[in-house]
Amino acid sequence: MARVAKLRIWRGDASGGQLHDYDVPWEEGMVLLDVLHVLQATQAGDLAVRWNCKAGKCGSCSAEVNGKPRLMCMTRMSSLDTTQPITVAPMKTFPVMRDLVTDVSFNFEMAKRVPAFKPPPRPPDGKYRMMQEDIDRVQEFHKCIECFLCQDVCHVIRDHPENKKVFAGPRFFVRYAALEMHPLDTNDRRELLKEQMGLGMCNITKCCTEVCPEGIKITDNAIIPLKERVVDEFFDPVRWVWSKVTGGGSKEG
């Protein structure tokens, strides 16, 4: 049975834009992205929208649906109230290019500033030994599909764009956590996190965790443990004295 959805889509470019109303037929089982594709093929051939895998694995089709950041390919029409207009707008934190497409280069710039993974040399047989329990934590972080919804929802840069210079954002805290907790990594990025990546700017209000389509517990498992590691290094005199006494660094093996 074909039904009709009222879509209210933000259209425009860097110079401005507004919401446009469209009536689009949809059928059982469709996701919002499908409806946008129907719209493209029938009424708005030039509607700009990024998408790739359509299965929640590539993280391309991020947008704000009824004001909430989410992936359009994982938003089932049946989960929305289709008696009301559905607003679809581009991510707010990033500059608009056109329609639903935003300039996410901020994230690629931040990626360049992450100090690289640094393992010890390989053992003679070429095979590193790691136990599953050593990597479970980090594997959760590696699930990140870089949809940047966490960056989008984070008020530190969403409502205060000037902070983009000094704040890496949840996606990169997940990345830093993945490196810091990697059983083979030998780099220490804690001072960088504290001084330049704005870890202290995060006030753990957990919106990143709420919007993560991969269900990564960004705040509890990545950001707070990083904050605690920074405390180990900079705010914990007990451990500082202990490390002086025992002669070891405070970073544990």
Partner: protein
């Protein structure tokens, strides 16, 4: 001459999936100034959709495994149409490529001894796939992407290339446009590596995204390269069939590798009825033996659900045609009754998530409905086995866009290893080739203007055709006439239809302006896609037998005469020509490995 934004590099890598990233890393490591072009944002390429794992004979789970067994499995899976030299290099080098990823930060699932865990997959004699749950491709692309970030590689994102540029015989760059602004851009380079992936968007039910429109295949063909084995397109046996809008989205082979079985509407494990002669010796003929095999491989033969993909896809097709399918026209893939919910969620987290979110199905309690989906181009641009060079000087190809390694059918898991092994080789050989090129990189006068004019034609007033509808017509044609089972009559009808679509594409009209305009992008992509579709159909007409991914209803058996030839497609003016060309003789020592 109009001025276009121009960038110059030693090596230009087109495509930033696994193969492109690996090629760029290697080229850069060889000292070449390397640029990487992606049609999407960096890290979104289809490699992220590869779920099951990377095939490599590490021997971590089964010490008996080694490159020779892997070589044998690959050749047999490909029905011996493979480029045997590529299959040999692939099997020999894959383990090093996997360990290298680990050195760059990838975290594969572990064995009890702390080594990389390997899983079972169709057509592989031993558990061989290094994996991370069912999101191995994501792990691979992220690792490569992050490694590339630290290697000084220039990345150009959201840029589509429409043509290679040549100086005489050799390639000297490429021409394209920024998707965001619609402005044209010229890349000059001493060597070009194609890593543009496949052509899956030609079919209606496909696991591929919008990007897979065969740009690289068409550009290479235009530049004078050969295509091989185009008729052997792979249909993955298990794609989602319901809801309709997600039809085609991949369901990983790991479901079967981890114990899942296929059942028809009456609950029968029908794969036991479809064991071909070729694989009888190594396939279990009872459910009891098949079930024992997962834990005891020495004295039991593998379950028929883990036959190569072409066999399984055809079997599903037959069951559905015989009226024994599921309510939405597929069959049932059942892991719910075979493994406990904890194991399923741990081993197949993204499948669990995908079905839960998209189909409202809990795979730990309910069987999945699945059916074949267009998945992978087994053939592609012909390359030389050592260095991935095409017939055009300066042009290299690696990954799905290159043909040869997989023969008539690719084994699951051999794609990710292919990307790494031949991505690296293509990058290295391209960088070395670039060193040999001296002097400027001239482009013939008027060439760029002509390309620009052609690219802007869809904005001309007077056109009447809608690119989206043309695309849908092509997809329906390919689905019905160039699908899993083919006949000469249908194939000829498809060729004719594709010809008509090519004519109508000349009258395409898009609305709006050049800035991020998907309608325009599709109109340009369709030019490549139609050429690729025609190449598949024409090659399929000529191979009058059934082999691997190519199955003919009018020639249902393999024909030994066709076992010795590849179908080669070349461009002759605007027309495509197909010729059967002999496969090189395999050395005796490799031949001996096939017996075993």
């Amino acid at each position: 001459m109009a001025e276009y934004e121009t960038h110059e590099h030693d090596v230009l890598v087109i495509g930033a999936g696994g193969a492109g990233l690996r090629a760029a890393i290697e080229s850069s490591a060889h000292g070449a100034d390397t640029a990487l072009i992606c049609k999407s944002l960096l890290g979104k390429a289809h490699t992220v959709m590869a779920e099951g794992g990377i095939a490599a004979a590490l021997g971590n789970v089964w010490p008996d495994d080694n490159w020779k067994v892997h070589f044998r499995d690959t050749m047999r899976g490909g029905k011996l149409l493979n480029n045997w030299r590529m299959a040999q290099i692939h099997a020999q080098e894959a383990p090093d490529r996997v360990l290298e990823l680990e050195e760059w930060g990838a975290l594969f699932d572990r064995t009890k001894d702390g080594l990389i865990l390997q899983r079972d997959f169709g057509g592989h004699r031993y558990a061989r796939l290094a994996h991370v749950g069912d999101r191995t491709g994501l792990e691979m692309i992220r690792t490569l992407q992050q490694h590339a970030v630290h290697k000084g590689i220039t990345v150009y994102m959201e840029c589509t290339l429409v043509s290679l540029l040549k100086d005489g015989d050799r390639v000297c760059g490429a021409f394209g446009y920024w998707r965001e602004s619609g402005k044209f851009v010229v890349f000059k380079a001493k060597a070009v590596v194609l890593a543009t992936g496949g052509i899956g968007k030609a079919w209606e039910f496909t696991s591929n995204s919008w990007e897979y429109t065969g740009d690289g295949v068409a550009m290479a063909l235009e530049a004078g390269a050969d295509l091989i084995d185009m008729e052997c397109y792979q249909f993955h046996p298990t794609g989602m069939v319901w809801p309709h809008s997600v039809r085609g989205i991949l369901v990983t082979e790991s479901v079967r590798g981890d114990g899942g079985v296929l059942r028809n509407s009456s609950g029968r494990r029908f794969m036991f009825d479809y064991i071909p002669e070729f694989f009888k010796k190594e396939t279990a003929d009872s459910e009891a033996e098949a079930d024992r095999w997962y834990t005891e491989k020495k004295n039991n033969r593998r379950p028929p659900e883990l036959l190569p993909r072409d066999e399984v896809a055809r079997a599903i097709n037959s069951e559905v045609k015989a009226g024994r399918g599921s309510p939405h026209g597929g069959v049932f893939l059942d892991i719910a009754t075979r493994r406990d919910p904890e194991t399923i969620k741990r081993r197949l987290p993204s499948m669990y998530h995908q079905f839960k979110e998209l189909a409202d199905v809990d795979i730990t309690t309910t069987p999945m409905e699945i059916g074949p989906t267009a998945h992978y181009m087994n053939g592609g641009v012909r390359v030389d086995g050592e260095g991935s060079a095409t017939a055009v000087p300066g042009l290299f190809a690696a990954g799905e866009v290159a043909g040869g390694l997989h023969g008539a059918n690719r084994l699951g898991g051999n794609s990710l290893s292919d990307l790494l092994v031949f991505g690296r080789r293509a990058g290295a050989y391209a960088a070395d080739y670039a060193k040999s090129v001296k002097g400027p990189l001239p482009v013939a006068a008027g060439r760029l203007e002509a390309l620009a004019r052609e690219a802007l034609a869809p904005f001309d007033p007077g056109g009447t055709e809608n690119p989206y509808l043309l695309h849908q017509e092509l997809q329906r044609t390919m689905q019905s006439d160039v699908g899993i089972i083919r006949t000469e009559h249908e194939l000829r009808r498809a060729v004719e239809k594709i010809g008509e679509l090519r004519a109508r594409l000349k009258r395409v009209r898009v609305e709006g302006h050049r800035q991020f305009n998907p309608g325009w992008h599709l109109a340009l992509d369709l030019r490549s896609l139609l050429v690729c579709a025609e190449a598949v159909a024409r090659a399929a007409i000529e191979r009058k037998e059934s082999r691997g991914g190519h199955a003919r209803d009018d020639h249902p058996k393999p024909d030994p005469a066709f076992a010795k030839v590849n179908m080669v497609v070349r461009k002759d003016g605007e027309a495509l020509r197909v010729s059967a060309e002999p496969i090189g003789e395999m050395p005796a020592e490799l031949k001996a490995l096939l017996e075993g």
